[in-house]
C-alpha cells in the first residue's frame, strides 16, 4: 500500500503558503491586543499626559507625595523579603519532597500545595486571629508559656506582612521547583555521585545550578505575586496603617476624583513597569536554557537516601507544615464556629453553626458563589484552549509569529491584577466602543489575562518533556497535525492539562483583587463577598466561607487524584 498518489501531489505547498496555524495565532493575538495590550498602553499614555500634553509631572507625585512614596517603599520591601524567604523555603522543601526518602512525602506535598489552592486573604484572616498583638491566640499562648509581659509578635507590622506573604506565596515557587526537580535526568546527579560527590554536594553543585532557571522563574513568580497582592495588605495593612501600592490604588479608585485616578494610574504604571522589567530580565536568562530531559525511554527518578537524618528532617518539615498550614487553617475553621470572638471556641456555649447556616442559605452569598464558579470555569476552559494551542505551536513548530502570544500571555500574567482591572475599567466602559463594564465578560477576560500563564507554563513544560520523536513516529505512521495532537501529544500531557485547568480555575474562583474593582452589585463574586464580611460585617461568616472554600479545594483534589489513578493531584 502506497499512500502517495495524485491526491497528495495536488496539494502542492508553495514557498509562501498560508499556514492554517496562523489562524489560531491571529485569533489569539487579536483577542490579547484588544483586551490586554490596548488597555495597558492606554494606561501608560494617560499616566504621561496631564492636561492634554505630554509631561512627567504625574510621576513626580510618586515621590513628592508622601502618601504615595511610603506605599512604594512598603511594597518593594515586603515583596523582596517574601521572594527571598519564599525561595529559601521552597527549594529545600521541593527537593526533600521530590527527590528524597522523606517520610510522608505525599501528605506534605498535598499540604504545601493546599496553601496555593486557597486565597491568600484566608492566610491574612488566620494570622490576624493568631498574632493580634492584644488577643492573638498564638501570642496569648506564647505569653502564658514563657511568662512574657508583652505579646512576642505584632501582625500589624512590615514583618507581619512579610510573614503572611511568604507563607502564602512560597507554594508558587514550590510548584515550579518540584516539577523541575522531578523532570531532571537522574543520571546527571548519578554522574556527580560516581565522581565522588556526596548527596548534599551533588545537590549544591549539580542539581542547584541545573535548576537555576527554574529558581529564577519561581523567584519572579513570588515577587510579582507578593508585590501585586491586594488581599493580604488590605486585611493586615489597613489596621496597621501599612499601605502598599495595590491598596493605595484601590483606595484612589474608590475615591474616584480626577486627581485620585491620575495617582492610581501613575502608581499602577510604576507597578506594572517594575513587574514587567523583572519579568523581562528573568525570561531573558531562562529563555537561554532549555533541556529535554525525558526521551522515549522511560526513566525513573532517583531517590536520595537521607540516612540517619531521615527522622529529624521529617519532624522539622512536619513542624513547618503544622505552623504554616495546619494551624492557620484550623484557626479559620475554629473562627467559623465561634459565637463570641473574645472567648475560646472550647468554652462552653461558645460553639455555634449559625454562620455555616448563613452561608448555605443566604441567597446573596449563593448567587455570588454561582457567579464565581461560572466565571472561573469560563476563564479556565477558554484559557486552557489558548494555552494548549499556543504551547504546541511554540514548542513543536517553526510557524512565524508563534512567540507573540506567548510573550503577551507572559506580560499579562506579569502585570499586577490591580493594574489589569484598572486598565479594563478605563477602556472597556464605552469610551472606545466596547462596553462590557458591569458584565461577567469583563471579569472572565481579566481572569484569563492574569492567570493563563500558569496553564501555559504547565503545558509547555509537559510538552518539552515529550520527546519530538514520539510525535514524529505518529507522523510517519500517517497521522496529520490534529490527529497527532489528539493521539499522542494530548494523552501524554493530559495530567498537566488538568493541572493547568485547576491552576487557572482556583485563583479565579476566589479572586479578590480584580473582582473588587470590576464587580457590580448584580454580579458579585465569592471573593468580594468574603472580603466584605471580613472587613465590615462578621469575621465568623467570612471564616465559614473560607472554610467552605478549603473543603471544596480538598474535595476537588481528592476527586482528581482518584480520577487520574493517583497520577495527578494538586
Amino acid at each position: 500500500m502506497c499512500i502517495i498518489n495524485e491526491d497528495t501531489v495536488l496539494k502542492r505547498e508553495k514557498k509562501f503558503y498560508f499556514d492554517v496555524k496562523w489562524l489560531f495565532i491571529i485569533a489569539i493575538v487579536g483577542f490579547l491586543l484588544v483586551f490586554q495590550v490596548f488597555p495597558l498602553i492606554y494606561l501608560v499614555i494617560r499616566a504621561f499626559i496631564s492636561e492634554g500634553s505630554f509631561s512627567l509631572s504625574s510621576f513626580e507625585r510618586i515621590y513628592s507625595v508622601p502618601l504615595n512614596w511610603t506605599c512604594v517603599t512598603n511594597t518593594l520591601i515586603t515583596a523582596t523579603l517574601s521572594m527571598i524567604f519564599g525561595v529559601l523555603l521552597a527549594f529545600p522543601l521541593a527537593w526533600l519532597v521530590g527527590r528524597t526518602n522523606l517520610y510522608g512525602k505525599k501528605l506534605f506535598r498535598t499540604l504545601f500545595l493546599m496553601t496555593y489552592m486557597v486565597p491568600p486573604y484566608v492566610g491574612a484572616m488566620a494570622w490576624l486571629r493568631l498574632l493580634n498583638p492584644k488577643v492573638g491566640t498564638l501570642n496569648v499562648f506564647l505569653q502564658n508559656i514563657f511568662g512574657l509581659a508583652e505579646a512576642p509578635f505584632d501582625i500589624y507590622s512590615i514583618g507581619g506582612l512579610v510573614w503572611v506573604l511568604t507563607t502564602f506565596y512560597y507554594p508558587y515557587a514550590f510548584i515550579t521547583l518540584s516539577r523541575a526537580m522531578e523532570n531532571m535526568d537522574p543520571s546527571l546527579e548519578e554522574a556527580s555521585r560516581i565522581s565522588g560527590a556526596s548527596p548534599i554536594k551533588t545537590l549544591l553543585t549539580v542539581t542547584l545550578p541545573l535548576m537555576l532557571p527554574s529558581i529564577a522563574a519561581s523567584a519572579l513568580l513570588v515577587f510579582v505575586a507578593a508585590a501585586s497582592c491586594y488581599g493580604i495588605p488590605s486585611i493586615i495593612g489597613a489596621p496597621g496603617k501599612i499601605y502598599t501600592i495595590t491598596t493605595r490604588i484601590v483606595d484612589y479608585v474608590y475615591i474616584g476624583s480626577d486627581e485620585g485616578l491620575t495617582d492610581a494610574t501613575v502608581l499602577a504604571v510604576f507597578l506594572m513597569v517594575m513587574a514587567l522589567l523583572i519579568l523581562f530580565i528573568s525570561n531573558f536568562v531562562i529563555g537561554k536554557k532549555d533541556y529535554i530531559t525525558v526521551s522515549g525511554k522511560s526513566v525513573r527518578p532517583a531517590v536520595v537516601d537521607l540516612g540517619r537524618w531521615r527522622i529529624p528532617i521529617t519532624i522539622l518539615v512536619g513542624l513547618f507544615a503544622l505552623v504554616v498550614v495546619i494551624i492557620p487553617f484550623a484557626t479559620v475553621f475554629a473562627t467559623s464556629v465561634t459565637m463570641n470572638m473574645g472567648k475560646s471556641v472550647f468554652e462552653p456555649g461558645n460553639f455555634t453553626l449559625k454562620y455555616w447556616e448563613t452561608i448555605i442559605s443566604r441567597s446573596s452569598i449563593l448567587r455570588s458563589a454561582q457567579n464565581s464558579v461560572v466565571s472561573a470555569v469560563w476563564a479556565a476552559s477558554l484559557g486552557m484552549i489558548v494555552c494548549i494551542i499556543m504551547a504546541y505551536l511554540l514548542k513543536r513548530t517553526n510557524v512565524r509569529g508563534r512567540k507573540i502570544p506567548d510573550f503577551l500571555i507572559t506580560v499579562g500574567s506579569g502585570t499586577p491584577s490591580v493594574v489589569i482591572a484598572l486598565a479594563l475599567i478605563m477602556t472597556m466602559s464605552g469610551r472606545f466602543g466596547i462596553n462590557i463594564y458591569n458584565t461577567m465578560a469583563i471579569m472572565v477576560i481579566a481572569y484569563m489575562i492574569k492567570y493563563m500563564l500558569m496553564g501555559m507554563r504547565t503545558v509547555v513544560s509537559a510538552l518539552s518533556r515529550v520527546s519530538p520523536s514520539l510525535e514524529e513516529a505518529a507522523q510517519i505512521s500517517g497521522a496529520g497535525w490534529l490527529r497527532r495532537l489528539r493521539d499522542v501529544v494530548l494523552p501524554l500531557i493530559v495530567p498537566s492539562i488538568v493541572a493547568g485547568w485547576f491552576l487557572i480555575f482556583m485563583p479565579c474562583f476566589y479572586e479578590l483583587t480584580m473582582s473588587n474593582l470590576l464587580y457590580s452589585n448584580n454580579i458579585k463574586t465569592l471573593g468580594v463577598e468574603l472580603y466584605n464580611y471580613q472587613t465590615y460585617h462578621s469575621q465568623q461568616t467570612a471564616s465559614a466561607l473560607a472554610s467552605g472554600i478549603l473543603i471544596l479545594v480538598a474535595v476537588v483534589n481528592f476527586a482528581l487524584s482518584k480520577l487520574t489513578k493517583g497520577k495527578f493531584s494538586i
Binding site: M1, C2, I3, I4, N5, T8, V9, R12, E13, K14, K15, S295, G296, K297, S298, S467, S469, L470, E472, A473, A474, Q475, I476, S477, G478, A479, G480, R483, R484, D487, V488, P491, L492
Partner: protein
C-alpha cells in the same frame, strides 16, 4: 516495489552545509546503509526522505512521485513510510498492541484485520506474549522491537532506520542485525539504514553509501567498499588501516621509513599514500625481508591484535589468534605484506576527521 531517487539534494542550516549536492537512487528491495561519522549528514538525509526536514534545494522522489522539491512538499504522514527512531519513540501511554496498531488505525483498517496484522508482526519481532504490556514494563531491546513492529505493520515499501541498534547491548545488537536482515528478506522491502557502525553496514547492506562532512564519498557493496575504497577516508572509516607514504616508480613502490619495496601494477607514480590493512600483514617466524619488533600484543579471542615497530614506523598487525604468545613482547618477527591499497598523495590526516 519501491524506488527512491535523490536528485542533487542540498541541506543548509544558515551558512552551514550539512549535506552537499547528494544524488542517489535506492532500488527495489535494496538494503541501503548510510554510513559515516556522527555529524556527517546521514541522519539529516534520512529525515529528509521521511519528510521531517525540507531540502534547501534538490528533489526527492518516491516511486517517481516527487515528494520534496522547490514547490512540492508531501508531509511525512502522507509518504507511507515506516521508521524506527534511535530513541525508539514508543508511546509510553499506549500498550504494545496499541503502539503497533496505530498506523493501521489511521488507515481505517477493519478491526479484525488490525488484530490479525498486529499479531503477525508481533510474531515476527518475537513479542507475541507482550501485547498487553506497557512500554515501561519492557527492556530496551523489547521497546526497540515494538518500534520495529510499528514501523512494519502497515507494510511500507520503505523502512527507515535511524541508528536503531545504538542503544542496545552488543550481543543483542548482533542478533538484531540478522533479524532485521531476515525480516527485510521475508517482506521484500526497501530499507534505508543510518549508522556509524561499519560492522552493521558490512553485515546487512546490499549497498553502502559512505558520507563524510555532508559529501558522498563512495557507493558500493560492502566487499567493494572494503576492498576498493575510493579514498583514504573510506579506507580508514570502513575497517582499520595503516597509512604510509611511498614513492611509486617503474612498477614498484618504495615505502618511506620502512625498508620494504612493494610490487605495484597500478597507474600512480611519484609520491603516493599506501594503506595497509592490519589483517593483510602476516607475522612469520625467522627472517623475512621485512623484520620488526613486537611492541605490544592483545589477545582478542578470535585474533591477536599487535603493534610491530619496523624501521621508524609502528604498524598495527591483526594476526591469527594462535600467534598470541608465540613470539613474545620485544621479540623480532618477520612481516609479510599480503595486500595493500594505493592512493594519490594527500596531506589530510584522515584519522582526525573521525569523531
Amino acid at each position: 516495489m519501491s524506488k527512491i531517487t535523490l536528485d542533487h539534494v542540498t541541506k543548509k542550516y544558515g551558512d552551514v552545509t550539512v549535506l552537499n549536492d547528494f544524488s542517489a537512487e535506492f532500488r527495489d528491495g535494496e538494503f541501503i546503509t548510510l554510513l559515516g561519522p556522527s555529524g556527517c549528514g546521514k541522519t539529516t538525509m534520512l529525515r529528509m526522505i521521511a519528510g521531517f526536514e525540507k531540502p534547501t534545494s534538490g528533489e526527492i522522489r518516491i516511486d517517481g512521485v516527487t515528494v520534496s522539491s522547490a514547490d512540492v512538499f508531501v508531509p511525512p504522514e502522507k509518504r507511507g513510510l515506516g521508521m524506527v527512531f534511535q530513541s525508539y519513540a514508543v508511546w509510553p501511554h499506549m500498550n504494545v498492541f496499541k503502539n503497533v496498531a496505530y498506523p493501521l488505525k489511521l488507515r481505517k483498517t477493519p478491526k479484525a484485520e488490525i488484530d490479525e496484522k498486529v499479531r503477525k508482526v508481533l510474531g515476527i519481532v518475537h513479542l507475541s506474549q507482550y501485547a498487553e504490556r506497557m512500554p515501561s514494563e519492557l527492556s530496551g531491546g523489547q521497546q526497540q522491537r515494538v518500534a520495529l513492529a510499528r514501523a512494519l505493520v502497515a507494510e511500507p515499501k520503505v523502512l527507515l532506520l535511524d541508528e536503531p541498534l545504538s542503544n542496545l547491548d552488543a550481543k543483542l545488537r548482533e542478533r538484531m542485525r540478522f533479524e532485521i536482515k531476515e525480516i527485510q528478506h521475508r517482506l521484500n522491502i526497501n530499507v534505508i539504514y543510518v549508522t556509524h557502525d561499519q560492522g552493521e553496514a558490512m553485515t546487512m547492506s546490499d549497498r553502502v553509501f559512505v558520507i563524510n562532512s555532508g559529501v558522498l564519498q563512495q557507493v558500493g557493496d560492502p566487499v567493494d567498499i572494503y576492498r576498493h575504497p575510493s579514498n583514504q577516508f573510506v579506507a580508514d572509516f570502513v575497517g582499520k588501516v595503516n597509512f604510509l607514504k611511498g614513492h611509486s616508480e617503474n612498477g614498484r613502490i618504495k615505502l618511506e621509513g620502512i625498508d620494504d619495496i612493494l610490487d605495484y601494477s597500478g597507474e600512480l607514480t611519484g609520491t603516493v599514500d599506501v594503506a595497509i590493512r592490519p589483517e593483510n600483514i602476516r607475522l612469520v617466524s625467522g627472517n623475512a625481508h621485512l623484520n620488526g619488533r613486537i611492541v605490544s600484543e592483545y589477545f582478542n579471542g578470535d585474533v591477536n591484535d599487535c603493534r610491530v615497530l619496523t624501521g621508524d614506523k609502528e604498524l598495527r598487525v591483526i594476526a591469527e589468534a594462535s600467534t598470541y604468545g608465540k613470539f613474545g613482547k620485544d621479540s623480532t618477527v618477520g612481516l609479510e605484506i599480503a595486500d595493500f591499497l594505493v592512493f594519490p598523495e594527500s596531506d589530510n590526516d584522515y584519522r582526525k576527521i573521525m569523531t
